[in-house]
C-alpha cells in the first residue's frame, strides 16, 4: 500500500480523498475509478462497508438465499471492486482535523500524519439518536444499533430480556434480529402512531421492496408474539449497577407522557433508537455550510444538485448529506464521484449530464421515501418530559439537567452558550451524544427553534488524539510545502 504522504513525487494527478467507506464512499470511489481517477479512501474502522454493510458480514461463508444474503453480496461486490491499484485504502485511520485548503490531519497507528486533498468527499455517515430519561446511563441501556453491531460483527447477544424503544422502522428490524438470535423481546415501544406511516406508505406502492419490508416486519412480530406498543415511550430505567426494569408510558401526539399509564417491564437490556443525526463535524472544519431541515433528518451538509458543498472542492454524500437509506446514500455517492470527475476535467459535460440525470432520478426517489421516514418517525417535544433536575444530560462531563436549567436561566441562548457555562459537549465524545438530548431540551425550555439553538462548534481534534501521537506530527511545511508558494525563493533572493 502506498504511503499517504509523498510530496516529493510531483505526480500530476490531483489527490482525491474520500472520507468514509460506507455505501456512499464506496459508490463514489467506484464512479471515480470508472473515470480512471485514482482515489484515497480513508475509513476509521478496520473494514469497508460502513455501519450498513457491516451488519451483513457475520458467517459470510454461508448462504441461504435471503434478502440479507443479497445485501451482503452487494456490499462484498462493491468492496471487491475497490481492490484496485488505483485505490489507496487507509483503514483504522481517523481524520481529526481539516485545515484551510483541505489539509487533513490523520491519526493512525498512534501516529499523526498530514495529507493534502485536492478534492475532498465527506461521507462520514451519521450517529444514532437517543433520548435521556432517569436511569439512561445505567449499564444495560444502549443504542439499538450498538446491540445489533455486537450481534452481527461478533455473534454476541448482549442480554437476555430486551425492551426496544424510540421511533422508526429500524426498531422492528433490530427487534427481529435479536429475537431470531434467541433474545426475549418483552416489548417494542414506538413513539409514533401506527396509522401515520401506513397512510404515508400508500404513496410508495411502486417501491415494492420497501413496502414488502414494512409489512414483513409487522407480520413477523405478530408471528413471534412480540408486543408492539405504539404511541408509548420509555420514561425511566431502574437498577443498581445494571438495568433491572424499564418503565413505559403512553404518550400523546406531542410525545407528552400520559400520567397513570405507566407500565413496568423487568428487563436486562434497553435498546434506544430515535433515528439518525448526520455527522457534520468534518464539514464544519472544512468550512462547508450546514442546514437544518426535518425532511433531511435535522442538520445536514448543504449541497448543490451535484453534491458540491459551499467550500471549494469539498463534496458530500451519504447520510451526511441528509438522512436516508443505503440506496439513497449510494446514489449520492455515485453523483459526487461523477461531479468530482467532471470538475477535474475528466468527464465531458455531455456524458456528465446524462449520468448525473440518472443518479438524480434515483436520489429524488430515495429522498421522497427518506422524507416520509424523517418526518413520520421523529420524537415530539415531550420526549424530554421524563428528565428530572437530577438526570444527566452530558454523560462525559456528568452535567445534570439542573445545571443546564441554570445556564438557560443565566441567559444562555444556544448550544454553544450552554457548552461554555456547563461543559456539556466538552468531554470525550465532543457532544455527539449530548447534542441529541440538548437540542430538543433547550427547544422545549426556551421555545427556540433548532436552527436558533444551532450546533456545537467542532474543533480539532474532533475525536481524542493522544498527546504522544500529536508529538509525532510531521512538520507541515515538509508535507504541504512553504505556506505561500514562492515565499522561500523570495526570501532566499534577499541573501
Amino acid at each position: 500500500m502506498t504511503r499517504p504522504n509523498n510530496p516529493a513525487d510531483g505526480e500530476a494527478q490531483p489527490r482525491i480523498v474520500v472520507i468514509g467507506g460506507g455505501p456512499a464512499g464506496m459508490a463514489a470511489c467506484n464512479a471515480l475509478l470508472q473515470n480512471d481517477l485514482p482515489v484515497t479512501l480513508i475509513d476509521e474502522s478496520n473494514g469497508l462497508g460502513g455501519q450498513y454493510y457491516k451488519r451483513f458480514t457475520a458467517a459470510a461463508d454461508l448462504s441461504r438465499g435471503t434478502e440479507i444474503d443479497e445485501l451482503r453480496e452487494s456490499g462484498a461486490e462493491q468492496a471487491g471492486r475497490l481492490d484496485d491499484p488505483r485505490v489507496t485504502y487507509l483503514p483504522n485511520t481517523l481524520v481529526w482535523g481539516i485545515f484551510p485548503e483541505r489539509r487533513l490531519a490523520l491519526y493512525v497507528d498512534d501516529r499523526v500524519e498530514l495529507m493534502q486533498a485536492d478534492a475532498l468527499l465527506l461521507a462520514g455517515g451519521a450517529v444514532e439518536r437517543i433520548a435521556a430519561f432517569p436511569g439512561w446511563t445505567l449499564p444495560g441501556v444502549m443504542t439499538a444499533g450498538g446491540a445489533q453491531t455486537l450481534l452481527a460483527r461478533e455473534g454476541i447477544l448482549v442480554g437476555k430480556r430486551f425492551l426496544l424503544t424510540g421511533t422508526g422502522p429500524l426498531l422492528l428490524e433490530i427487534a427481529l434480529e435479536i429475537a431470531e438470535a434467541g433474545g426475549e423481546i418483552v416489548a417494542v415501544v414506538e413513539g409514533s402512531s401506527l396509522s401515520a406511516p401506513v397512510r404515508q406508505l400508500r404513496k410508495f406502492v411502486t417501491q415494492t421492496r420497501r413496502m414488502r419490508q414494512a409489512f414483513d416486519y409487522h407480520r413477523e412480530l405478530r408471528r413471534r408474539k412480540i408486543p408492539l406498543l405504539s404511541q408509548h415511550m420509555i420514561v425511566a430505567a431502574h437498577g443498581d449497577d445494571h438495568v433491572s426494569d424499564a418503565v413505559v408510558a403512553r404518550i400523546d401526539g406531542d410525545w407528552q407522557p400520559i400520567s397513570g399509564s405507566e407500565q413496568r417491564f423487568p428487563v436486562d437490556t434497553i435498546c434506544l433508537h430515535y433515528g439518525f443525526a448526520a455527522s457534520t463535524e468534518l464539514a464544519h472544519l472544512a468550512g462547508a455550510t450546514t442546514a437544518f431541515d426535518q425532511r433531511y433528518g435535522g442538520w445536514y451538509v448543504a449541497h448543490d444538485d451535484g453534491m458540491r458543498t459551499s467550500a471549494s472542492d469539498v463534496y458530500v454524500a451519504g447520510q451526511t448529506s441528509g438522512i436516508g437509506g443505503a440506496d439513497l446514500a449510494e446514489a449520492t455517492g455515485r453523483l459526487a464521484g461523477l461531479s468530482i470527475a467532471h470538475d477535474l476535467g475528466q468527464l465531458p459535460v455531455d456524458r456528465y449530464t446524462g449520468l448525473a440525470v440518472d443518479a438524480r432520478r434515483e436520489i429524488d426517489r430515495g429522498r421522497q421515501f427518506a422524507e416520509m421516514l424523517n418526518t413520520t418517525y421523529t420524537a415530539g417535544p415531550g420526549v424530554n418530559e421524563p428528565v428530572t433536575s437530577e438526570t444527566l444530560i452530558c454523560r462525559c462531563e456528568e452535567v445534570r439537567a439542573a445545571q443546564v436549567d441554570a445556564a438557560l436561566a443565566e441567559g444562555a441562548l444556544d448550544l454553544n452558550d450552554v457548552k461554555r457555562l456547563t461543559r456539556c459537549g466538552m468531554g470525550f465524545c465532543q457532544g455527539r451524544i449530548c447534542s441529541q438530548v440538548l437540542v430538543p431540551y433547550i427547544a422545549q425550555k426556551s421555545g427556540r427553534s433548532p436552527q436558533e439553538i444551532g450546533q456545537f462548534h467542532p474543533r480539532p481534534p474532533i475525536k481524542p488524539v493522544p498527546l504522544g501521537a500529536l508529538a509525532t506530527m510531521p512538520d507541515p511545511e515538509s508535507v504541504f510545502g512553504s505556506p505561500e508558494p514562492g515565499a522561500a525563493e523570495a526570501a532566499a533572493g534577499h541573501h
Partner: protein
C-alpha cells in the same frame, strides 16, 4: 452470550485465547473486540465515572460515545468497542485513577 448460530447459519470461531480483566481471565476469540469478549463473559460495567463514580457500560459499540473506555496494557482511555482483544492483554476498568482526562490521554 456467544451464539452458536446466527440467522440459521453456524458461527465459526477459530481457537480462543485469554486476556486479563482486573483479576479475571477472560476468554476471547479472533475477531472479537475487548467489549465483545467482556459482554460474552457477562461483564457489563466497564468503568466508573470521574466525578460521581457511577458505573458505565457500552452505549454505541461503534466508537462514537467513548462510554466503554478501558485501560489496555497501561494505555489509558482506549475504546473497548473498537479495540481488538489480543492474547495476554492486561485490561483494567477506567476511572480508578484520578487522571482520566481527555487532554491527558496518552
Amino acid at each position: 452470550m456467544r451464539l452458536e448460530e446466527l440467522r440459521g447459519e453456524r458461527v465459526t470461531r477459530s481457537d480462543g485465547f485469554t486476556f486479563r480483566w482486573d483479576e479475571q481471565e477472560i476468554t476471547a476469540y479472533p475477531g472479537e473486540t475487548i467489549l465483545g469478549a467482556l459482554i460474552a463473559s457477562d461483564i457489563h460495567t466497564l468503568r466508573s465515572t470521574r466525578f460521581e463514580h457511577e458505573p458505565r457500560g457500552m452505549l454505541c459499540a461503534i466508537g462514537v460515545c467513548y462510554e466503554c473506555l478501558v485501560n489496555v496494557d497501561g494505555k489509558p482511555n482506549r475504546r473497548a468497542c473498537v479495540t481488538p482483544a489480543a492474547p495476554g492483554m492486561i485490561v483494567r476498568p477506567e476511572g480508578q485513577d484520578e487522571e482520566m482526562r481527555y487532554d491527558a490521554a496518552e
